[in-house]
């Protein structure tokens, strides 16, 4: 199956997917038990799960007839990156401001 390569931020921009991540941050859950928490159909929940899986936020393990979803911490690296990126960004900018002010 070819999964669309979703951007991490697009993936979690969706409230249902955020809720799924929230639920998984407390416990591993099957797709069926996840679906019970939503008004949408099981295939719709399954689609969100696939997107989360495709983005690397969760892993899916098949045990018997059930598919268990668990949170995958490595998937959150990209989100952590923006903090690191903009921390360095502002540090560069403020250094520049410092230079500007002190050369006057």
């Amino acid at each position: 199956m070819q999964l669309q390569n979703y951007d991490a931020f697009q993936v979690i921009a969706d409230p249902s997917r955020r809720q799924i991540l929230h639920m998984l941050s407390e416990d591993a859950m099957t797709i069926n038990s996840l679906a019970k928490n939503f008004d949408m159909s099981r295939p719709a929940v399954s689609k969100h799960v696939k997107i989360l899986y495709g983005a690397g936020f969760i892993t899916i393990n098949t045990v018997g007839r059930e598919r268990y979803c668990t949170l995958k911490p490595e998937g959150f690296k990209e989100l952590k990156e923006w903090i690191n990126y903009f921390d360095a960004f502002w540090n560069r900018k403020l250094n520049k401001l410092n230079d500007l002010l002190n050369t006057q």
Binding site: I12, G64, L71, F76, Y85, D87, W90, L94, L97
Partner: protein, 143 residues
């Protein structure tokens, strides 16, 4: 895990001067980037630079002025995306100016708008894989 950006700087200059460098486009562009800022709440403006491929950003930062306290406080939204209209990052930039004896302290706070998102990231990084594996094993043992 770090959940927001916090930087504290000291400049041996008057608060009014720092304020000018934060709010006058021609001065702000000298150290941040090209922009059309106005220190008026509700004013929409943007910062523009070259695309940043490593972050999948098109180099345009869409902002709206939120709070203005002349010479003391300025905050605006800081949203950016890859150029397809959706915002990959929604955040707030907040500047606080405090007069000091020999100059001015400037504090920058840059944080995500989606506090819920921050929670997920926080839980995701902290609760982690090990705890989930344990729970998985718990499920397996029930069979």
């Amino acid at each position: 895990m770090q959940r927001e950006i916090n930087q504290q700087w000291f400049f041996p200059h008057a608060p009014e001067k720092i304020w000018d460098y934060l709010t006058k486009p021609e001065l702000l562009s000298q150290w941040v980037m090209e922009n059309d800022i106005k220190p008026i709440p509700g004013h929409n403006f943007s910062f523009r630079t070259k695309p940043i491929p490593q972050m999948n950003l098109d180099g345009i930062f869409h902002c709206e002025v939120l709070e203005v306290v002349p010479n003391r406080k300025l905050s605006y939204t800081w949203n950016c995306g890859s150029g397809d209209g959706s915002m990959l990052l929604s955040s707030i930039v907040q500047w606080t100016i405090t007069p000091k004896e020999q100059g001015t302290e400037l504090v920058l706070k840059h944080y995500g708008l989606q506090t819920e998102l921050n929670e997920i990231i926080y839980n995701g990084m902290d609760s982690g894989w090990a705890g989930n594996v344990k729970k998985m094993l718990g499920f397996l043992n029930q069979d």
